[in-house]
């Protein structure tokens, strides 16, 4: 497997405060990588650097073959991003949102049209295509947002707490979309506060005070900490 994200002592400081402290890790193509940590541990700052939105203070990171500091625009073209806080325009319809994002990522009109059809069918949203996104249940919005983030066939999709507040059934349907994308070779990097979801990841890292304190498969981490659940692993490290 090829390495698609690689960081080397990646660091970001804000004044005297070190938000991300020399983190080194790599992520392989098609991997579902859980990026965990308590509030304020530095996850968001790290994600911002990996998505080319914030430049590192020291160290380096390569995403989809490009240096995030030297070529942030090349990185942005090759990644998708969705979060619970912002993903779609509520006052545009489902179809308009798809067209907008397709356009932003430079897809041809004909491609946008055919992809829209496939996407609506897959999500069983054909009847909803003309409805405002704001009127959809949260779970549907999140599934749509994820599909839109995949529209330009990015190599990596960053998901920042995508399932927060979503009902248990839709949360699982969402994860099946993630599994499916991974099976097609897309790399997924995901943050979540649901520890059962940490178990769905191939590997997880746990950040504490800006550093990666643990990184392994969920199974190996549980073994290492002598427990049968990720909740306990997380608590031991983060407390």
């Amino acid at each position: 497997m090829a390495t698609v994200i690689q960081t080397d002592r990646l660091t970001r400081t804000f004044g005297a405060f070190t938000a991300v402290d020399a983190i080194t890790f790599d992520v392989q193509t098609g991997e579902i990588f859980g990026f965990l940590g308590a509030n304020g541990a530095g996850k968001t700052t790290a994600l911002k650097m990996l998505t080319g939105l914030l430049s590192p203070s020291a160290g380096s990171a390569t995403v989809a073959g490009f240096d995030v500091w030297k070529h942030p625009d090349q990185v942005k073209k090759r990644i998708g991003y969705m979060s619970q806080k912002f993903s779609l325009y509520e006052d545009l319809t489902v179809r308009e949102n798809i067209r907008l994002y397709g356009g932003i990522y430079g897809l041809k009109m004909a491609d946008i049209k055919s992809k829209t059809q496939v996407l609506l069918q897959k999500l069983e949203l054909e009847a909803e295509a003309g409805k405002l996104v704001g009127s959809l249940p949260l779970g549907w919005k999140q599934k749509l947002a994820f599909s839109v983030a995949l529209l330009h066939e990015p190599r990596i999709v960053f998901l920042d707490e995508p399932t927060s507040g979503v009902d248990p059934l839709t949360r699982r349907q969402f994860w099946e979309l993630i599994y499916e994308a991974a099976a097609q070779g897309v790399t997924l990097m995901i943050t979540t506060h649901y520890m059962d979801e940490a178990e769905y990841c191939d590997r997880v890292s746990i950040m504490v005070d800006g550093r990666i304190e643990a990184l392994d498969t969920p199974r190996a981490l549980k073994q290492q900490y002598g427990t049968d659940n990720m909740d306990e692993v997380f608590r031991r490290l983060a407390r």
């Binding site: 509030n39 507040g165 839709t170 099976a183 506060h193 520890m195 059962d196 178990e199």
Partner: protein, 304 residues
């Protein structure tokens, strides 16, 4: 302590609450468990007199939420879902402000907030906007308790908060319960249901079930197995096609396999599932009986 009778509320064509009824006893922690958009916040706003119901009536500590709203506001504490303190005031200024609004002082009921307040006291002079998520939550809780309310309403205190801070927060609620406080707590996290005395499972404005967490879980009648292999996505897809399997979904490290209620014993089912997965070429197969959680029950109720 809280009585809710046939409450309904609509916004235009959207029915947020549909014929909701339940009662909360004195000293209970009662959980309203459901996803975003289920109607939890509308319900909380009605019970704290910030919104009037279209139909039905409700009372808190014997006071009607519509007729006695002024008196009621004096005896309830409310911690809304969204951080609603003054970001530009310091920790101490926020507390002072809320104390003075209720005609009291930080010192008057200090005992109640002391265990929580001590954790944020070192940051007394820091502005609320500059606090971390966990500390904001503690400050908000102190502000909601400053007038020693009889009933405390907590609307999604755990949303967006990491598992460690959530756990700490529930420990604080358990302390408050020991002091006799009645609490209504809403959450989208199903695992938090087990920390409540009783819960109502709510979805699309309707209550699907009210019971103790044990009662909710024991209502799950299908035999349930946990299964895993090296390829979980394929395992879930395969098991859904197997005869005798009613449903299958991811559940942490394992998938939960809900079997039909056809009288097949749990051991026979376990064997059948193992055999089926072997035939489908799965590796490192593990199958074992599982106990239904509140989340299993919620999924089942949603599907009915």
């Amino acid at each position: 302590m809280i009585t809710v009778h046939n409450i309904s509320k609509s916004y235009g064509t959207l029915q947020a609450l549909h014929d909701i009824s339940f009662e909360v006893k004195e000293g209970e922690i009662f959980g309203i468990i459901g996803p975003d958009g289920a109607g939890k916040t509308s319900l909380f706003r009605i019970l704290t007199t910030l919104l009037t119901p279209d139909q039905g009536h409700a009372s808190v500590a014997g006071l009607d939420v519509v007729k006695d709203y002024k008196k009621l506001r004096q005896i309830v504490g409310y911690m809304p879902g969204r951080f609603s303190l003054y970001q530009d005031l310091t920790v101490e200024e926020n507390l002072d402000f809320f104390a003075s609004v209720f005609g009291t002082s930080i010192r008057e009921h200090y005992d109640l907030i002391a265990p929580i307040y001590r954790q944020i006291e070192p940051f007394n002079k820091r502005r609320a906007g500059a606090l971390s998520g966990g500390m904001k939550q503690k400050l908000a809780l102190c502000c909601a308790l400053i007038h020693k309310p009889e009933v405390l309403f907590l609307d999604e205190p755990g949303t967006g908060v990491d598992p460690v801070s959530r756990k700490e927060f529930w420990e604080m609620l358990a302390d408050l319960k020991r002091q006799g406080l009645t609490m209504l707590v809403s959450t989208p996290y199903m695992d938090e249901a087990e920390l409540c005395d009783r819960v109502a499972l709510i979805q699309k404005g309707k209550i699907m079930s009210i019971d103790t967490p044990q009662g909710i879980m024991s209502a799950f009648k299908n035999p349930l197995l946990a299964a895993r292999s090296d390829n979980m996505y394929q395992l879930i897809k395969d098991l859904r096609t197997m005869d005798g399997v009613a449903d299958c979904y991811a559940f942490g490290e394992f998938a939960h396999v809900k079997m039909n209620k056809d009288g097949t014993g749990i051991q026979a089912s376990e064997e059948a599932v193992r055999h089926f997965l072997q035939e489908k070429q799965h590796h490192n197969i593990e199958v074992k009986p599982a106990a239904a959680t509140v989340e299993d029950c919620f999924i089942e109720l949603m599907k009915n």
